[in-house]
């Protein structure tokens, strides 16, 4: 095993190993301090030049685990490892006084192992294994505070996660049947898709569309695809801040990676592609509208994630629609994920810093720095955001025709919406600030936060060149689209400033609120109503049936008991002997 292969093994292995030492009391106490070391192998692997192509097979583990690093994986690994490192550092400070610190870090490390593992997983079941580990371990992070709100968010989270898992698993069954085993990502999987798309001849032939749909939905839950996003605005805000940053920054990206890994890039599914693109654009707007009507900074960020994932869905939809744009769209999606992950991570981390900011600490410089990633998200010039939007635009240009004519203006509008949303976030962030007497609290948190902000801002400028697959060097240069990028930001910025300086101009609109989790509230209401009617009817029907069956059972038991009694009565002494003899003779006669 070469060094690189060993580091590849440690990528999920080290956090996993630390997580399973949890039952040992002494090690458990050290976990908060060790957590920041756990993602370091992954980080090292992502930063090593020429690490692509490292691969490892563990035939005895699970269904034969294949690990490998490719260009896309490397980009995801960089984001994932960097954000986990910063978040671990941040969490160690953030939870310094927390009585449930040890439990938090147990779940934290297990989630980390799953998240890092799925990035380097190279076959469909290894990915699924890591994905499920991450999903279920993150439940512990969501409900960490154990408040009623957190438990409710946890409930919605776990129910939706399980539904997603089921969709995913059924999709995997179809892939497994078609390939006759566990296909590896890449060529083997593409061949499987060709079989599935090929109509009648192969096993599972013609089920390609169903499989694509199931996988899109299965990963869509994780990626916050509208309308499967319901858990997201509930879970992201209630989780402790470090976990929120991870949920929004990297864990929803696992769903995106799932799309990129599993979905076919050589067979076209125009209908599903179109649907995904339409949903994506819809989500880009929906996230903005619902987010503006929120009263909590973290919830605003969660809705912003939903909106941003709309752009990603747009890119993935384009791949399904027309495999011709796959290379460009793939590069676009990867870049978008990197940019959004770092920026959103930094924004979430800034909320925690704001809360612990002392009265005498510099408020305005803090806000200024916190605003930088927000500007990047809004797509201001000279940021990664501007570039990310330029890539999305390049993709729809490539699609051409009606797509370009319709989407181009819509996306400009959505960019303006994002700016407004970020303005709203800054307003709410400002309200959360200060008042803390312990001056040291914010300082401890500031270092990882600043690191993520700085790396995020800097990385978005040079990252695409170094980390996006070489085919994607067609990325537009930074200066192109400067005016276009500046336009919506300036427009929305001016609008936001107008409103902020005199909120009464908006009148009743300022009081417009959407409950966090939007549709979930409707479902919960509907559930609490319907529970009464059909459930009661159903239950009483069920009870009736059970009662009837019991009666039949009881009667038959009584009959059997009656029979048994008579039997015993009859079968005493000589009669029994005679019967036995007769039976033996009978059997003997039969046998002979």
């Amino acid at each position: 095993m070469s060094t690189l292969e060993f580091v590849l093994l440690l990528t999920p292995g080290l956090p996993g190993l630390l997580a399973v030492t949890w039952p040992l009391r002494r090690l458990r106490r050290a976990l908060p301090r060790l957590a920041a070391l756990a993602p370091l192998p992954a980080l090292a692997l992502a930063l090593t030049p020429g690490a692509e192509g490292t691969a490892l097979v563990l035939p005895a583990v699970f269904t034969g685990v294949h690990l490998a690093l490719d260009a896309v994986g490397r980009a995801f690994l960089l984001l994932t490892a960097a954000l986990w490192t910063a978040a671990a550092w941040y969490a160690e400070r953030y939870h310094a006084q927390d009585a449930r610190r040890e439990a938090f870090f147990g779940f934290f490390l297990l989630t980390m192992a799953g998240n890092l593992g799925l990035v380097v997983a190279a076959d469909i079941l290894a990915f699924y294994l890591c994905f499920a580990t991450m999903t279920f371990a993150a439940y512990g992070l969501v409900v960490h505070t154990r408040t009623g709100e957190a438990l409710r968010a946890g409930r919605v989270y776990i129910v939706m996660a399980i539904i997603g898992e089921m969709g995913l698993l059924s999709g995997l069954f179809i892939l497994g049947v078609a390939s006759g085993g566990v296909p590896l990502f890449g060529l083997e999987l593409e061949a499987t898709w060709l079989l599935l798309g090929g109509g009648t001849e192969a096993v599972g032939g013609g089920m390609g569309g169903v499989a694509v749909l199931l996988l899109v939905l299965g990963f869509g839950v994780k990626a916050g695809l509208t309308p499967l996003h319901l858990w997201l605005p509930l879970a992201h805000p209630v989780a402790p801040t470090a976990a929120s940053a991870l949920l929004s920054g990297v864990m929803i990206k696992a769903g995106v990676l799932g799309w990129l890994r599993y979905l076919p890039t050589e067979s076209a599914y125009p209908l599903l592609g179109t649907a995904l693109m339409v949903i994506g654009v819809g989500a880009a707007f929906y996230g903005v509208v619902a987010g503006l009507a929120q009263g909590d900074a973290k919830t605003v960020l969660a809705y912003s994630s939903i909106s941003q994932m709309g752009y990603v869905a747009l890119g993935v939809g384009a791949i399904l629609l027309d495999p011709g744009v796959a290379v460009l769209a793939l590069a676009g999606v990867v870049f978008y994920v990197l940019h959004h992950g770092m920026a959103k991570g930094a924004l979430f981390l800034s909320v925690g810093v704001a809360e612990r900011l002392g009265t005498s600490q510099p408020k305005w410089s803090f806000l200024f720095i916190a605003a930088l990633p927000a500007l990047a998200l809004a797509g201001a010039p000279f940021t990664g955001g501007a570039r990310a939007k330029a890539v999305v635009k390049a993709v729809i240009e490539e699609l051409g025709g009606t797509w370009y004519a319709v989407l181009d203006p819509l996306l400009l509008l959505a960019a303006a919406g994002t700016t407004l949303l970020m303005a709203r976030f800054l307003v709410l962030l400002e309200r959360r600030m200060g008042g803390h007497t312990d001056e040291g609290g914010a300082l401890g948190l500031a270092v990882p936060w600043l690191a993520v902000s700085a790396v995020g801002l800097a990385a978005s400028l040079w990252l695409p060149l170094a980390y996006v697959p070489p085919e994607a060097l067609v990325l537009p240069p930074l200066r192109v689209g400067l005016a276009e990028a500046a336009g919506p930001v300036l427009l929305a910025g001016a609008l936001a400033w107008l409103v902020w300086s005199a909120p009464e101009r908006l009148g009743a609109l300022t009081r417009f609120r959407v409950p966090a989790g939007d549709l979930v509230v409707l479902f919960e209401w509907a559930w609490s109503r319907t529970r009464r009617l059909p459930q009661e009817a159903f239950l009483s029907f069920g009870e009736d049936m059970v009662e009837k069956v019991r009666n039949v059972q009881r009667e038959s038991h009584e009959y059997a008991a009656w029979l048994a009694e008579r039997d015993l009565y009859l079968m005493r002494g000589p009669l029994l002997g005679a019967l036995l003899l007769a039976f033996t003779l009978l059997v003997g006669a039969l046998l002979l």
């Binding site: 035939p59 699924y128 059924s170 069954f173 059997a560 039969l590 046998l591």
Partner: protein
């Protein structure tokens, strides 16, 4: 090779290794604790070692058979082949663990001599029927199992236990009679009772008398389905959970229900053969019955507040994965079904061990009283959580491996309804297992604990905690290391490769 030992005797020795202690213990005085425990442990360890020996032999390609002719054409035969070893290894290893658990669990309670005697006999019958080389031997041990288990179920002697025991006898004796009738009819019709991989019956003979074979099939199936707890013949199982925890653990994981399920495997694979059964249209009946049972058991488990009762309905459901798997045509589904025979046993025994610890140490018997037990019994509830997540079928636990192969097999056998059944079952499993896990770890204490506080070494008596932890680690290991040669999956794949199925 040791000259004085004929290797063909191995299967017999495996059976005797628990039979002899069982009979010996029967003659011990109640206060001879040391000797009794020693006999039990010696038997369990001896059986385990013998089985490992046999396992290695079979892995190298040997097979063991010991037979004596009873009547012309009918032999009493014990065979150690791949399929038998799958089951024997399961019961031998879990028996070893359960013995430790039972010794700890029953400490200080009356009638232990009776208990441990029948405990050993119960396992004797199980290993016997696992290695039965023909239906005749199988039926003998199948009946013996009924009688050996009854004293264990009524062990507590409470009216409830007596009632459960009576119900058990009514169900299983009737079933036994039906099975005997089926076996006699089969012998009369086909002239053979041997188990042959791939089917012992001549398809042409069956085609000549289709109705008669159909009747025989359903007689045999009816006799087996009771112990396999196929709905609607499952009624005795949830009631029988009044038995002490180690008995429930054995009943649900190793002995009785497994005997039924294994019988169904033998019926479909070694008597009729899966191709013939599919042609006759009976395999699909078994599959649909199993599918229905899977859903029904899970639905009933949902609203059981008594922990052991919930686990019992879960057994009803999970056990039918085995019948479902072996009733489908594709090798993948057989792999799923057979491997679940082992996986379900390991996971379910863990759950019952934990339920026993909860009631023994804390006096907690109901799910709604389980708030915060995780903090008092972290190892126990850790084991419980692993097994419960495995039941739901989450990777990397063993349950996922079964589900994966069953799903592939169902879809590939052109029975796509298998997938929704599996998914619905997973959802329902999640719905009745995850709340338990959540309550135990995340809720606050909400009931009185009797907390006898015994055992300073671990959170409770180590003989109760360590078995649960061991089997939980096994459940995890069977999934996490499924790709290894020695995992249940590896063994099953070997069977398929050698054409034993």
């Amino acid at each position: 090779m040791i000259p004085i030992l004929d290797w063909a005797l191995l299967p017999l020795l495996v059976v005797l290794s628990s039979f002899v202690p069982g009979i010996w213990i029967m003659f011990l005085r109640e206060d001879q604790h040391g000797l009794r425990t020693g006999l039990n442990m010696a038997g369990a360890i001896a059986k385990f070692v013998l089985v490992i020996l046999m396992l290695q032999g079979v892995a190298m390609g040997l097979s063991y058979e010991w037979r004596i002719e009873v009547l012309p054409g009918i032999a009493f035969s014990l065979v150690g082949d791949g399929l038998a070893l799958l089951f024997v290894t399961l019961s031998a290893s879990l028996w070893l663990v359960t013995t430790v658990y039972a010794v700890g669990y029953l400490e200080g309670s009356p009638h232990r001599t009776r208990f441990f005697s029948f405990f050993s006999l119960c396992v004797t019958a199980t290993t016997g029927l696992a290695m039965a080389g023909d239906l005749f031997t199988f039926v003998i041990f199948y009946e013996a199992l009924t009688w050996a288990t009854y004293p264990l179920i009524v062990h507590r002697g409470s009216p409830e236990a007596i009632r459960a025991g009576r119900l058990y006898l009514i169900y299983t004796l009737t079933a036994g009679t039906v099975l005997v009738v089926g076996a006699v009819a089969l012998f009369a019709e086909a002239g053979t009772l041997d188990f042959v991989p791939g089917g012992a019956l001549d398809p042409e003979a069956v085609a000549g008398a289709p109705v008669r074979y159909l009747v025989i099939f359903f007689l045999l199936l009816g006799g087996l389905a009771v112990k396999a707890a196929l709905v609607p013949l499952h009624g005795w199982l949830p009631t029988a959970m009044v038995a002490p925890a180690p008995v429930s653990a054995l009943l649900h994981a190793v002995a009785v229900v497994k005997a039924g399920a294994f019988g169904v495997v033998r019926l479909l694979h070694s008597i009729f053969g899966i191709e013939l059964a599919t042609e006759m249209g009976v395999a699909i009946v078994v599959a649909m019955g199993a599918g229905f049972t899977i859903i029904y058991g899970s639905v009933r488990a949902l609203n059981q507040d008594d922990l052991k009762r919930r686990l019992a309905f879960s057994t009803v459901s999970q056990l039918s994965y085995v019948a479902l798997g072996v009733a489908l045509l594709l090798p993948a589904s057989h792999i799923g079904g057979l491997v679940h025979l082992v996986h379900q046993g390991i996971m379910k025994i863990t759950l019952f061990f934990c339920a026993g610890v909860l009631s023994e140490v804390l006096g907690v018997k109901r799910v709604s009283d389980m708030g915060g037990v995780g903090r008092r019994l972290p190892l126990t509830m850790g084991a419980f959580s692993i097994a419960a997540l495995g039941m739901v079928g989450l990777p990397p636990m063993a349950g996922f491996i079964s589900k994966w192969y069953l799903g592939i097999g169902g879809l590939g056998s052109d029975l796509p309804w298998v997938v929704p059944v599996l998914l619905a079952s997973s959802l329902l499993n999640a719905a009745y297992f995850l709340p338990i896990v959540r309550t135990a770890w995340f809720d606050d204490r909400n009931s009185e604990w009797k907390d006898s506080g015994r055992g300073a070494f671990l959170e409770a008596d180590w003989r109760l905690v360590l078995p649960a932890v061991t089997t939980a680690l096994l459940a995890l290991g069977c999934g996490l290391l499924a790709g290894s040669e020695w995992s249940p999956l590896g063994w099953t794949l070997l069977l398929v490769e050698r054409g034993h199925l």
